[in-house]
Amino acid sequence: MKNSKVLKSAVVAAAMLPMAQAFAEVNISGWLNEEMMFFDNGNSSDVAIVSGNGATLGSRLTFSGSSEIPNTGMTAGFEIIMEPQGFGSAAQAQPLLNNQTALQNANEFQTNITLLSRNVSLAGSFGKVTMGLLSTPTDNIGVLSDPTLGLWDAIAIPYHGAGINLRTGGATTAFSTASFLSCGNLGGLGIGADCNGIYRNGIRYDLPAFGGLQVAVGYANDDIYDISAEWKGNLGRLTTNVGMGYTINQGGAGGWDEAEVFQMQAGVHDAGATGLYIWGYYQNEEADVAGGGAGQDDSDVYVVKGGIKKQWLSVGETAISGFYGSYNDQFGFTGFTDSEVERFGFSVVQHFGGGLQLYGAYENLDTEASVGGVTTNFDEVDVFTLGTVVFF
């Protein structure tokens, strides 16, 4: 209740801003993403209504604005992002679904509205400097780069079903798929890809873009440095993007002292003619385990997605995609010494202009892990998802 009053006040305040002439331009925008998910982990199955894409990429309300500073050629800006579901709503957020028991009890009243972003910026011919709680240069460098903007049916982070309990021969284990998608740079958060994919308190500098190339450097608490380079453009009828990023986290978290993450991605979409597209992503993380003990220290991730996006229906474009991902040795501190999560699936997304997407996706998650020469093949998890995203 308190949070909704804060939200209402914020909305009214934002609407009043133009009248107060504090900022020349204030925008309220965002999206809502909800899904119905059916899963089968080899022993049991169930249906759950969940918020899509977990936290940091889930439903959000964004307040942003900019104002030219007279006679300077510079523009001041701000951004506040609130998510109407956060880490606290564990049983209803995708990657943090722990097991079927929790799911059955997952009807508690949703009370969490978390602050995702809160920053100010100054831009001019020198580029742009942003400070506060922000998205660092390598955040989303390889995740939200699918040239078809298919961000909810399937992205490099295996959100769908990653939190479902893993079974062996039907027997319960202490693990979920997310246990084998551990990011050392994020203190073990089980998201597999985009291993710098959270908002941090820091500062970033975006160099002036030239020829479609954007380079950014950043520093975040505590002792996290990153750099990214991205090129996007239209090459005739092809929509293209290429990007790479490097992060070093010297602050340590979750059992790691230092972690380095390298990511790269590339995508091509023949938007003007055939509608065919293909996109690939690679990530390597090297993490020093605190105290030199046993645990994950080197992992690789490969993801490829391809298909066709074209307008066949009058309401908007349809995207049909297939995807495959391999997440290797992200076993964290599970006690295993090797692991692989293989993920494949397909999806269909129907766009209704720019305001609505309906999608359906099927995904299979196959996890195996080994220690001391003994391999554990966990039962495969199948997930079917029907979801919708509304933009405003």
């Binding site: 609407a15 903007l149 975006d206 873009a209 690939g280």
Partner: protein, 321 residues
Amino acid sequence: MKMIVYRLLFNVTTFLIFLLCTSVSSPVVAKELFGDDDDYIWKSGTNRFVKFVTIEKELATRNDHPVKLDRQTLAEALKILEYSEEKNVLRDDLTAVFSIAQINNLSRNIANGLKRAKPDQDIIFSIEGLSKRLLILTGKSFTTGRVFYKDGKLNLILGEYEYARNEALESAIDTSGNANVQYNLDYGSRKKSANSFKDYLIETAGIELKRVGSKVRRDWFVIDVDVAAETYLAVKEGKNNKEAQQDRALQLEAAKLAKERREMRLEMARMRKEMEAISQSGGSSANSIEERMATLDELKEKGLVSDDEYDAKRQEILKDI
């Protein structure tokens, strides 16, 4: 074995993507796939531009390019483009298709572009404007379209109309905040409507909708630029004349009322004087009484005294008899 196959597949895919993105084997393929910066007539950001494109090959049609259009005339022709959300409404309830800023941009760049466009080229545009959002707010949006000149007329096919930007999505995709996000916009097509503009364009002299067989393409405007510009000027003059006439009529009415009020005041002053004179002279003679009654009747007739005042004064005069 499976891992080797998958990794090989991934490496091949990555190599193909790299090949497509960074190099081509022939300039023709390069131009076909990658285009040319000379294609842009105007560009300001990822989704704001006016540029040349080759006509869709399978259409086997050619435009009457290059053609010289006067920019001012073109701007006036675009200003007459108005629509309503319902059929058969009054001209006063219409909305302009393009804002003045958009018209200035389009008229300048389309005129420039058509001067050097080739017969096998169209011009497509994507321009920014404002549109209503969340009932009380306005937000930025994109309007796109395709333009070409054929059979002595300018053809404008709308693609997206007021396609809302989503700043939240842009900041998530492009974390630099520079909004370098490519929206997948439809730029309009001869072959089929984008179905984004569903309102009713008002057809007038110089402006008509394209008929394809028995169907009317609501997104395809066929503009006789000179006639449309003349229509705009005539409508503007008519509006100006109408407003001038209305002002004149109001002025005349005000002057007439002022004159009547002035005459009334003078009449009342005269009558007051007469009545004072009658009172001073005793006022009891028959002539005086007749005059007084006549004066009172006159005042009553002109509405300068109420019924009660009339009765009271009449009684007073009669008492003097």
